[in-house]
C-alpha cells in the first residue's frame, strides 16, 4: 500500500468486477459511454462505480432519519392484561422501565440494540456519504472498516421488531391479555430496513477516489 499512487487501478486496466458473481472481466476495446456492459457470466450490468450510488444512499439515509423520529416517539407495542388494562410502550419508555426496575444490563443491551446502533449507523453512513461526496482522502482505511462494520451489523437492529412480532404471535389470551403492535414499530422497522438499504447502495469504492476522471463513470 506504500506505493498506492503508482498502483494501477481496475479502471485504468479496464477491469470490471461483477458484484453478483464475482467474475472479473476486462474491457478490450473502448466503447461508447452509454453502452451497457453485462457480465458475460450472469448478465449483471457492470460498472466501475455503481451508478447514482451516492444519490441512493442519501435518499435512503434521509428517509431513515425522518422515520427515526416517529420510531422513538410513538409506542411500538401495547400490552393489555386484566390487571393493568392497556399499556403503551415506547422504546425509550421500555429502557427506562428496565433501568428503574434494576435490570441495568438488560437496559443497556436494549439501549445499544435499539437506540445506539441505529443512531450510529445513520451517523456513520452520513460520515461516509459526506466524505465520499467530497472525494476526501481522509482516513480511508478506517472508513472502509467502518463501512464493513455497518454492513455486518445490518439487520441485527431488527431485534426489537422480532421481539415484538414474537410477542404478538405468542401472547394472545383473548380477554385476559395480549400484545399488539403499534405504529412506532412500523417506523422502527422502516428505519432498520432503510439503513440497510443505504449501506447496501453505498459503493465502498467511493472511499478510494481516483486522481483522474475514470474512463467510465456514469
Amino acid at each position: 500500500m506504500s506505493e498506492a499512487s503508482s498502483l494501477q487501478t481496475g479502471a485504468q486496466l479496464r477491469l470490471y468486477g461483477c458484484p453478483t458473481c464475482g467474475r472479473v472481466s476486462q474491457l478490450l476495446h473502448p466503447i461508447a459511454d452509454s453502452t451497457p456492459l453485462p457480465c458475460p457470466r450472469c448478465a449483471t450490468p457492470l460498472h466501475h462505480r455503481r451508478p447514482r450510488s451516492l444519490q441512493r444512499t442519501w435518499a435512503y439515509l434521509i428517509a431513515a432519519t425522518i422515520l427515526y423520529i416517529p420510531a422513538n416517539l410513538l409506542p411500538i407495542m401495547s400490552t393489555s392484561n386484566v390487571f393493568q388494562g392497556e399499556t403503551l410502550h415506547t422504546i425509550l419508555g421500555g429502557i427506562e422501565e428496565l433501568r428503574t426496575g434494576g435490570d441495568w444490563l438488560l437496559a443497556l443491551i436494549v439501549f445499544i440494540a435499539s437506540i445506539a446502533v441505529p443512531m450510529l449507523k445513520i451517523g456513520a453512513l452520513l460520515v461516509l456519504v459526506i466524505t465520499a461526496q467530497r472525494r476526501s482522502r481522509w482516513k480511508q482505511v478506517e472508513r472502509a472498516q467502518l463501512y464493513r462494520m455497518i454492513d455486518a451489523v445490518g439487520h441485527w437492529s431488527m431485534l426489537d421488531v422480532f421481539v415484538v412480532v414474537l410477542l404478538v404471535g405468542t401472547i394472545r389470551f383473548g380477554p385476559l391479555g395480549g400484545v399488539m403492535p403499534e405504529p412506532g414499530l412500523l417506523a422502527f422497522g422502516a428505519v432498520v430496513v432503510l439503513t440497510m438499504l443505504a449501506a447496501g447502495s453505498f459503493d465502498p469504492r467511493l472511499i478510494w477516489p481516483e486522481e483522474e476522471a475514470p474512463q467510465r463513470h456514469p
Binding site: 472479473v24 472481466s25 451497457p36 444519490q55 428517509a63 416517539l73 422502516a190
Partner: protein, 492 residues
Amino acid sequence: MSDDTPGSAPPPTTPPTPVTRKWHGPSLVWLVPIVALAVGVALLIRAVLSTGPQVTIDFHSANGLRPGKTEVRYKEVVVGRVEAVTLSEKRDHVQATVRLDRSVSNIAVEDTRFWVVRPRIDTAGVSGIETLFSGAYIGVDAGESTKQKRHFTGLENPPFVLRGEPGRGFVLRTEDLGSLDVGSPILYKRNRVGRVVGYNLDPLVDELWVQIFIEAPYDKLVNPQTRFWNASGVEVSLNSSGLKVDTQTLASVISGGISFERPQGTQGLPQASDGSRFKLFPDRKAALAPPDGPPLRVRMVFDQSVRGLDIDAPVDFLGIEIGAIKAIRLDYDGKRKRFPVEVEAEIYPTRLGAVRDSMRQEGDDDKRRDTTLLQRLVQNGLRAQARTGNLLTGQMYVALDFPGKVSKAESRHLHRHPGHSHGAGHAVGRAAADRRDRGQGQQGAVRRDRPQPQRHAVAGAPGDRAAAPRRAGLARRGAAHAAVSAGDIATR
C-alpha cells in the same frame, strides 16, 4: 482469480436490444425519503391529533396513581391517562398531569369533577372492587359549563350524585343523625332506591338537614305525605310488650339507612317536588302513627316505690297507650313526713279518639278543652296506677283507670310549680290520693293535701263510682305487688 475459464474475457458483444432507461434528472430513489417523510409526518400528525388537552389535577395523595398507567374514565370509558405525578411546590398535595383524549377535549370545563376510584369499603357499601385488579383510576363527572379550565382540584371521595343522573333530591329534618352517614342507603320496602348525599347542621334551629337522593324511577314514590324514618341498625326494644327485635337489611344494620313509606290512602297523591322537606322520624311506628298533635303534660304523685317505671314507659288509658313517662322525681311532703314520687308524663289527647270529641266541652282553645276533659275524668275517679307490665323484667307502666272507692279527688289549676324548671304550666288537676296498698295491708283512702300556696283548686269532686269493685279487681290482677295507687293527676 482474474481468469478462470476464458483466458481473457471476450469483448462483450453489444446486445441486440440495448436496455434504454432514460431518466434524466434526480434518481427515482428520492421517492423513498419523500414517502418516508409522508409516512413519518402522517404518524406524528395522527399521534398529535389523537392527544387532547393536558390538565392538572390536585390530589391529597398519589396513592394508586401511576404515571403512564392510570387511566381517566368517564362513564367507565377511558378518556385519558395520567402522564406525570409531581409534588406541589408546597409539598402539601400532589399534582397529576393528565392527557385527555382528543374526543373529550371539551370535558375540561369549570365544573368538571375528578376523583380517584379506589377500592372502598364505607357506609355506602363496597365500591371500586374492580380497581383491586386494575389499579386505581381517575373518575370524571363532566361539567356543563362552557368555560374551559386546565387546573382542577380532585375530590377526595366520589361524588354521590353524578350530573345527569335521573332522580330527585329531598331534605329531611332531624334532631339526631343516628348512624346515618353520607352514602347510607334509602330503602323502600327494604329495597335500595337512593342514598344520603350529605347533611349539615343548622345551628339556628338546632336541626340537622339530611340531603338525600332517590334514583329514578323510585322518586315517583315520594309524595308530600311520604313519611321517612331512620331505619338504622337493629332495634331491640324490651318493654312491657316483651322483647322485640326489628332489623332492616343487613347493609343498613351495618351502615344505617332511611326507610320511607306512603301512609295508607296517599298513594294517589302527586309526586313531591325536587328538594321538598320532610321530617325524619326515629322509627317506623312514629313515622306511620297518625299525627298526635301537641302533648299534654301531666303530673302524677305516687306514694310508693315506682321501681320498674322508666322514662318512656307507656301511659295507658283503659289499655290504650296514650302517652309516655317523661320524668320521675322524688318529692318531700314535710307535713306527712313522706316521700311521694312525682311522675311526669306526656299524653296525647288526640289518641283518645272519639272519646275526646264526644266528652269534650265546647270551647275555642284546643288545649284548654283537653285540660278540662282531663279534669272531668279525674273528678269522676280517674287515677293513675303503676302496674307491672312484664313479669319477667319487672317493667312497669302507668295505667289511667277508674279503680273505684276513691274518696275524693281534686284538680287544681297550676300557675307555677316549684319542682319544674320549665314551670310555665297553666292547668293542674289535682286529685286527692286514694291509696290502697294491698302489699302493706293498708286500706282506705288517705287524704293527702299538701300545702301548696301557689296552687289553687279549679275543681274538686268526690270520685266514688258505681263500677268501682270490678275495676279494683282488674287492677289487682294487673299489678301483683305494685300498689294500686291513685296519684294526683295534674295537667300542666
